[in-house]
Symmetry: C2
Subunit: 261 residues, 2 copies
């Protein structure tokens, strides 16, 4: 395959799921157990990494822009690992194909002639819906669901995400830690009613999970302390249901200000 | 809790994942092993049901409108089961909170005072992305992803799904078996360029899986035989990448007509 003649390995891009170790798939667990080397994101649960008992483990995590390993370095490291190890796992939080920058790794591996396979995982939005007990779709209320990130990359417009967010019935915003109030302001500014229900979920499925129900209007002016875990912001009529109705709103907003969200 | 005084059970709404038995989560596998009774959809893999060795198994599947168990019957059966069994599993294809009509079951159980928990699963769109090796998001190309169904319910407009489908970068249509050509025609009619890449995936992650790459223009006039498994239709620039470039288009369209899609 290569002038160096030693390519034997295969790389698996594996979804680690939303947080709780038992929300890993059976296939992911088996691959970790068999792995020779694992490159993982910063937020993967220690119990998941413990499955990869025989593997060398390398943290290439990007976390709130703090400990950031350059993508080009990761691509090169995966290619090198496949030349010296049989079973290479690249373990990503949630699902690899949603906000995981997987395409850059897949393209680099393909260009280097290295075999690659993707193992899907449970994504954060579905974990949030499960913990909230709110279906993202609902007959007569929500037929379309959009996943997006308000984070802005190079050459991208900050407001690009608004059109799909306004058009869809249920909206889940990823990597929204710290952006919740500005998301609410942007949506209201674009014409979304202030009374639209919102649910914020931090560290979904983990013991430290926090859930908050509010509205765009209230969220817009809320003072939220910095998050310590990943946050998804869920917006739409479906989030008005169940738990929301039972919660005293004044109490709730006191809870918002004292929460870590 | 109830005049009948015998509520002891808890109901778990569990995602069975996209098809392959090892794409089940560890939590789902453990719950099935411990379950007393399992109500499952029609398309759940036999190896997944085999995990529930000690449980009574009841098929309440809805499948292409053929064998359809009424939702009200399912709701009543779950409530009755929780009054006579400790661990009740309601097993749904993919993830329960996306196109699974889970809210109707959650609301019925809550109204009956029955404890309930949701276990998320790998949804079909992410399984399709994994098998296609195409990330649904990609820097500079796709920041927003919409999931929707073109199926029309009572009192819903047939074209409601078009606005979010046009606004988002990547679109995955669920329950699209038989609707692929009309989806393409609707999108072109609404102004989406005919050259927009499309990938169709039938029975994702199963041995009988079929993948087809095409464009809206070609799909619009394609004669597709009826599908035998669930189909997702993926539309967007990201699907132009990788495998698409390598495939001879004329050959491909011959394959389309002979395929089961």
């Amino acid at each position: 395959m290569s002038a160096r003649g030693s390519i034997v390995g295969k790389v698996y891009l594996v979804g680690a799921g939303p947080g709780a170790p038992d929300l890993l798939t059976l296939r992911a667990a088996r691959l970790l157990e068999a792995a020779d080397i694992v490159f993982h994101d910063a937020l993967v649960h220690p119990d998941i990494l413990a499955l990869a008992g025989r593997a060398r483990q390398i943290d290439v995590g990007k976390r709130y822009g703090k400990v950031s390993t350059e993508q080009r370095f990761i691509n090169r490291a995966l290619i090198e690992a496949a030349r010296t190890h049989s079973l290479v796992v690249r373990l990503k939080g949630g699902d690899p194909m949603l906000f995981g920058r997987a395409q850059e790794e897949l393209d680099a591996l393909k260009a280097a002639g290295i075999e690659c396979e993707v193992v899907p995982g449970v994504t954060a939005a579905l974990a949030a819906a499960a913990t909230l007990k709110v279906s993202l779709t609902r007959r007569g209320i929500a037929r379309t669901v959009v996943f997006l990130t308000p984070r802005v990359g190079k050459g991208e417009s900050a407001s690009e995400w608004l059109a799909p967010a306004l058009a869809a019935d249920s909206v889940v915003l990823y990597m929204a830690a710290g952006a919740a109030t500005s998301i609410a302001a942007s949506l209201i500014g674009a014409g979304k009613p202030g009374a639209t229900p919102v649910a914020l979920v931090e560290s979904a499925t983990l013991p430290e999970e926090r859930r908050l129900f509010t509205t765009l209007e209230a969220l817009q002016s809320a003072k939220l302390p910095p998050a310590t875990g990943p946050v998804v912001v869920c917006v739409g009529e479906v989030f008005r249901e169940s738990s929301f109705k039972e919660i005293d709103h004044a109490n709730l907003m006191r809870e918002v200000s004292s929460a870590r969200l």
